[in-house]
């Protein structure tokens, strides 16, 4: 009964490689997000998609490219990984309502380590 799931949970890779993280939600939500949590536990939004359309695109290097094949999936592809990309990446989803955006439900996170 996982609501928001991410794969993989852990990812260890070499600098310069390209990697992807996948996210799926079975809540029927129309909006999905990617967040990055750094080593100091500071959580910052990266992207948001509403009905497969990009609506939030923070100041993120263009090495990061999100892709939403459908409302239930939002994947994150990272090219040419750098040491500073090491962090925990969280996917989240929410449903827009009559009063706007509602609470976001988070996945378990993907801990990325770049060596």
């Amino acid at each position: 009964d996982t609501a928001v799931s991410q794969t993989p949970k852990y990812l260890v890779t070499q600098m310069g490689n390209d990697k992807s993280i996948k996210c799926e939600q079975n809540l029927g939500h129309d909006t999905m997000y990617w967040y990055k949590q750094d080593s100091k536990k500071f959580l910052k939004i990266m992207f948001s998609y509403n009905n497969k359309e990009l609506i939030i695109n923070e100041t993120v290097p263009n090495r990061f490219s999100p892709k939403s094949p459908d409302k239930a999936h939002l994947n994150l592809h990272i090219n040419s990984l750098e040491l500073g990309d090491s962090a925990v990446y969280f996917c989240a989803s929410s449903q827009t309502g009559t009063s706007g955006f509602n609470e976001q439900f988070f996945g378990p996170g993907t801990r990325l380590t770049v060596l």
Binding site: K41, F42, L43, Q104, F105, G109
Partner: protein
């Protein structure tokens, strides 16, 4: 400086004690969300506040949003070891856009 400031940054309390965590912004909080994170896990949604003066409770946790909608507090009554974790406040400062800005978190330890 942070757009959303949490205090304290860390807290150690004896089991059974009450505690309060604060979340403050210089901007209007269009939506204020409290989450809890355990080490190595995702964020668990606790409560959402939208109206000035609103107060919500769940079990032993109460959250309030002030009338000006610039400060929220999270109060835990009779703390237990299960309350330990990182508490994060998140807020929409841009006017209901879905873009949440988070505070730096408050790490809570509860000593048995």
């Amino acid at each position: 400086s942070q757009e959303l400031e949490q205090s304290p940054q860390s807290l150690i309390v004896q089991e059974g004690k009450n505690l309060t965590i604060n979340c403050t912004s210089s901007k209007t909080l269009y939506g204020l969300y409290w989450y809890k994170q355990k080490y190595g896990e995702g964020l668990i949604f606790l409560m959402m506040l939208q109206k000035g003066g609103e107060e919500k409770s769940h079990e032993k946790i109460t959250a309030k949003l002030d009338e000006k909608k610039q400060q929220s507090s999270l109060h835990i009554t009779a703390s237990q070891p299960s309350h330990a974790g990182i508490y994060l406040c998140g807020a929409d400062l841009s006017g209901n856009t879905g873009k949440l800005i988070f505070g730096q978190g408050t790490t809570l330890q509860v000593k048995p």
